[in-house]
Every structure is written in structure tokens, then in C-alpha cells.
């Protein structure tokens, strides 16, 4: 249970962190 829930929480948090902080292609100086 701890492994499953922990994995999902960390995975989701990482995804949202990336979504909210990653540079967008329309940002100045964006490099893929």
C-alpha cells in the first residue's frame, strides 16, 4: 500500500512540478 500510494503521489507531484515550472515553447530563450 505504501509503495503503491507513495509511487503515485511522487509521480503526480513530479508531473505537476514539471508542468508548472517547465519553460513553454513560446517563452523567450526556450530550448527543447
Amino acid at each position: 500500500m505504501l509503495v503503491s500510494c507513495g509511487t503515485m503521489i511522487v509521480w503526480t507531484a513530479w508531473c505537476y512540478y514539471r508542468v508548472l515550472t517547465a519553460p513553454h515553447p513560446t517563452d523567450p530563450g526556450y530550448t527543447p
Binding site: M1, I9, T12, C15, R18, V19, P25, P32
Partner: protein, 545 residues
């Protein structure tokens, strides 16, 4: 295309809309029952395998194809399939991607109405299970049977229109009102509010469940920790086996793959349509991954920690055993008994069913939008006319499910043929179309445009070989275990035959519309392909359309 194409207004908006499409009643009722019934913690290994080898690659393929076709002006599945597949046959195969959401909507809207009806009943205190605790389970079961008319066909339409039909009408109008407002103003705005609200509701109920302790001193073994252990500890699926014996049972692998399909809306005819409204520079790799993760966290951490532990604490393992195989029994018959015993149960019952209602609306909206997009593209009509036509198709279909309520036979039959069989077929077609017709390498290259996360190098190998092999295994196992029994059961009930005829009727109607639209789409595809070839990703050969 002359008409201005709709688009999502924000990155987060499309992620919440796609996750909203995936998060549904199955997350909170079907998943916990599946885990408890199929080996407990051992179930999570096939579950994670299905997630990694099936769901994530297919989701990415759907996102990529959807965005690619959307950039060329196509949003409906038949048009997307025809454009990418370069053959008229693909347009007609795209009908499956319309039949699945439209027909599933016909019964899903009814379940959505039950959720709202139960939430209302808790808010107004009209659920009365009597004063005898020993009779609560029987009273709850009877309440549900009466509410949905499970004992007789037409029960909820005879003797005056019953409560659940009024709620059905309300949620029907509500869904169409949101859809009528459009992709950004309707679906995105609703999901931006509903998804966070649903999470808050889920966390409130979760905290209540995890702090229940051991509420009944007469049963010290019924604690929250024991409830969590009942659900999550690895256990054999048959007597005498080892704790991990479930891993050797093909039915467990089938149940895990089925759960992943059901929960992530893979092969539901939704994601390509939603992805077609992305902008040119929008990312698909991280967005697809985030939508999948959002669904998974709600399923594993909310669905997995609330339903079964709460029911175990008040009813024990014996009280739960009979309902594990049925989401409806667990959600609408067992949980009301749990809320009856729980301190503050009326409040938490309302929060729970309201959360299910929000989850269901986000999902049902995603079933309507692909059909609206199809009607707009095929007939070149506006949103108002598309909503009217879709209403004319779905109202009779939904009334059919409401009328044939005895034993929920119509609902179960439609779910089997459309919600299981056609979903497998559609997912298989999508994988073949993406990996072998469009080209997995070409798709991966397209996905890298605007990507905010690196697409794994193994993706192309996975989608070409591993995912199809996995799909074949799952489909074969499903056909061997489930198909003969369902076909045999046709002799028992005419309603099953009527249900299949209804599905066939909807399919023929949609095929006729695809035929009407075909010539126009072929011309537009030629135009888009010639423009696309100049841009580097054109694929549709004009001569082949």
C-alpha cells in the same frame, strides 16, 4: 476550414479536462473491489505492468495523433482516422470511436443521476434504513433496488415518474448545457472547478475514514489498519495458494488490464478528440503523463484507501465479501450502511456521493464532445444543431436503459459489448494506426515538437511490439473467459438482444453520416496533406483518400 477552430485556453485546463475524463466512478468503486478480489497487494504488479506497457504508450499515441490531426483541422475520430490512415476504410472504422462514447453515455448518465440522487438524499436526510442495525444491509439493498427499478422493467416510469428519472433529466440538461458552451468555456471551465473540488471532497472523506480507529468495541478486529490490510495485503485468489499465487492467475492479469483500460479512458474515443484542440506549440508528452498520473493518484490513493477500509471497519470481511464483484453493490448498497454507522455519516455520505457525481460529470462530458465534433465536421452545422441531434440520439437510448431496468440487464449488456469489447477493438486499431500506418518513429518525432519532457527511447519499440502483444493477450483471455457465457445468456433474456440491436442501430446511423461526410473530408485531407507535406509532417496521400 472556414470555421474558427476551438482551442483549450490553458495547459492546466487540458490536463484537468483529460484527467477529468479518466477519473470517474470506476476509480472509487471498481478499483478497490478489483484489488480486494484479485490478490490484494499482488494485484498491483499486473496493474503497474498494464499501466506501463499498455496505458501510457496508447495514451501518448492518442495524444500525438489527436494533436497532429487537430493541426490540420480535424477533431472527430472518423476524420482523424481517415486523415492519418490514408484509406476510406479508416474513416468507417472510426465509427467505433463514436459508438463507444455515445452508447456508454446512455447508461453512464443514469449512474451519474443515481450519484446526484443519493447526494440529495443524504443532504435532505431522506435515506432511511430503519433503526435495527441488523436490518440495515437488507434495507439499503432494497432502497437501491427500488431507486433504480431493479425488480421490474419500467418500474421507475410506472405509477408516476420516480425520483431517479427526475435526476436523470436534470443531469442530462446540465451535461448538454456545459457541452453547448464549448470546449474552453464549457468543458475546461467546469473541469477547472470540479477537479480540485472533487479532490477536496475525497480528502475530507479519506481523513474521516483513516481516523475511524476501532469504532465498534464488540469487534476489536475491525480496525482501519485491519481494513487496509484486508485490501492491500497480498493474498491468494484460491484457498491453499501462497500470498503471491494471484500472479500466476491469468484472470488477475485480465482484471488488472481491464481496470487500467476502464480507468484511463484508453480506447474510449476521447483523448484524440481532446488533443485535437491543442495549439501548435503545446506539449503532448508531459501533458499526457500528467493526466495519467492525476487519474492514478485519485484511483490508488483515494479509491484505494476509502471504500474497502471504511466498509471493513463497520461490516467486517463477511459483510463485504458478497459486494466485492459489483461496483454498484459496493457503492450504492454497502456504503450507505457504512455512512449509517459512521459518526457524521449524513454529511460524509453527501460529500462522497457529490464527489462521485462531479467525477461522473467530467467523464460524461468527455463522451459527448467527440460526437459533437463529429456532427459539426460531418454535417457542417453549428453547436446548437449538433447538441439537438445528439440529444435526439441519446435521449431514446438512455430511456431504453432506464426502462429495461430489471436486473440492470440493458445496462450490463451495453457495458459488455461496448464498454469492454469495442474498447479493446478501438485500442487495438489505434495502436496499429499509430505504430504501423502513421509510423511510430514519425509520431515520436512529432511529439518532440514542443515537448516539455523527453519521450522515452523505448516508446517506439513498445508501441510497435510490446503493446500489441499485450493487447492480444488481454483480448484473448477476455474472449476465452467472458465471451461464451455472454453469448449463451442471450437465450435467457430478450432485453440483451434489444440492447445489441440498439447499438447496431446507432452504428448504422453514424456510418451513414460518415458516408455523407466522406467526400468533403477527402478533399480537406488532400488540402491538409499538401500543406502538411510542405511543413514536413504531411502524410495523407491524396491519391489514396
Amino acid at each position: 476550414m472556414a470555421k474558427k477552430k476551438e482551442q483549450w485556453s490553458s495547459r492546466l485546463g487540458v490536463i484537468l479536462a483529460v484527467s477529468g475524463s479518466a477519473v470517474g466512478i470506476g476509480n472509487f468503486l471498481r478499483f478497490p473491489g478489483n484489488v480486494a478480489e484479485n490478490g490484494g497487494g499482488a494485484f498491483m504488479i499486473p496493474y503497474f505492468c498494464a499501466l506501463i506497457f499498455l496505458a501510457v504508450p496508447i495514451c501518448w499515441a492518442e495524444w500525438i495523433m489527436g494533436k497532429y490531426a487537430g493541426q490540420h483541422g480535424f477533431s472527430s475520430y472518423p476524420a482523424i482516422f481517415g486523415f492519418i490512415g490514408r484509406r476510406a476504410i479508416w474513416r468507417y472504422l472510426g465509427v467505433i470511436a463514436l459508438v463507444v462514447p455515445i452508447v456508454v453515455f446512455m447508461y453512464y448518465i443514469l449512474v451519474e443521476a443515481w450519484c446526484l440522487g443519493y447526494a440529495w438524499a443524504y443532504l435532505t436526510g431522506s435515506i432511511d434504513l430503519g433503526t435495527d442495525p441488523a436490518a440495515h444491509s437488507a434495507a439499503s439493498t432494497q432502497f437501491f433496488k427500488n431507486y433504480v427499478g431493479q425488480e421490474k422493467d419500467g418500474a421507475v416510469l410506472s405509477g408516476g415518474i420516480q425520483n431517479c428519472v427526475w435526476f436523470w433529466a436534470i443531469v442530462f440538461v446540465f451535461n448538454f448545457w456545459i457541452i453547448y458552451r464549448g470546449v474552453a468555456k464549457g468543458i475546461e471551465t467546469f473541469c477547472n472547478i470540479a477537479m480540485p473540488l472533487m479532490t477536496v471532497c475525497g480528502i475530507i472523506v479519506l481523513i474521516r475514514v483513516l481516523t475511524l480507529g476501532t469504532p465498534d468495541p464488540a469487534h476489536p478486529e475491525r480496525s482501519v489498519l485491519s481494513g487496509l490490510g484486508f485490501m492491500w495485503n497480498p493474498k491468494p485468489t484460491a484457498e491453499g495458494g501462497s500470498s503471491w499465487a494471484a500472479l500466476a492467475d491469468p484472470k488477475v492479469w485480465l482484471a488488472a488490464a481491464g481496470q487500467i483500460f476502464f480507468t484511463l479512458s484508453v480506447g474510449f474515443g476521447v483523448i484524440c478528440n481532446y488533443a485535437s484542440y491543442l495549439k501548435k506549440n503545446d506539449d503532448v508528452v508531459l501533458s499526457g503523463m500528467t493526466a495519467t498520473a492525476t487519474n492514478e493518484v485519485s484511483e490508488v490513493c483515494l479509491g484505494g484507501l476509502i471504500t474497502i477500509p471504511a466498509a471493513f471497519v463497520f461490516l467486517g470481511a463477511a459483510g463485504l465479501a458478497a459486494s466485492l464483484g459489483s461496483s454498484f453493490a459496493l457503492g450504492f448498497q454497502v456504503l450507505p450502511v457504512v455512512f449509517m454507522h459512521m459518526p457524521g455519516g449524513r454529511f460524509f455520505g453527501f460529500i462522497w456521493f457529490f464527489m462521485l457525481f462531479l467525477a461522473a460529470v467530467c467523464s460524461s462530458l468527455s463522451m459527448l464532445q467527440p460526437a459533437i465534433a463529429f456532427l459539426e465536421e460531418s454535417l457542417h452545422i453549428g453547436r446548437r444543431a449538433s447538441c439537438a441531434i445528439l440529444g435526439l440520439v441519446t435521449v431514446p437510448g438512455s430511456l431504453f436503459v432506464i426502462y429495461f431496468s430489471k436486473g440492470l440487464t440493458a445496462l450490463g449488456t451495453i457495458d459488455f459489448w461496448v464498454g469492454s469489447l469495442l474498447v479493446f477493438i478501438l485500442a487495438t486499431l489505434e495502436v496499429f494506426l499509430f505504430a504501423w500506418v502513421f509510423g511510430a518513429e514519425r509520431g515520436a518525432a512529432y511529439a518532440r515538437e514542443g515537448a516539455q519532457m523527453r519521450l522515452p527511447r523505448s516508446f517506439t519499440f513498445m508501441i510497435k511490439y510490446v503493446t500489441p502483444a499485450y493487447l492480444l493477450f488481454v483480448f484473448s483471455a477476455w474472449a476465452i473467459y467472458n465471451l461464451p457465457g455472454e453469448i449463451k445468456s442471450f437465450q435467457e433474456s430478450n432485453v440483451k438482444l434489444y440492447s445489441v440491436l440498439m447499438i447496431a442501430g446507432v452504428t448504422v446511423f453514424l456510418l451513414m453520416l460518415i458516408g455523407i461526410a466522406g467526400k468533403r473530408w477527402a478533399a480537406e485531407s488532400r488540402e491538409a496533406a499538401s500543406a502538411g507535406s510542405r511543413g514536413g509532417f504531411g502524410g495523407a496521400s491524396a491519391s489514396e483518400m
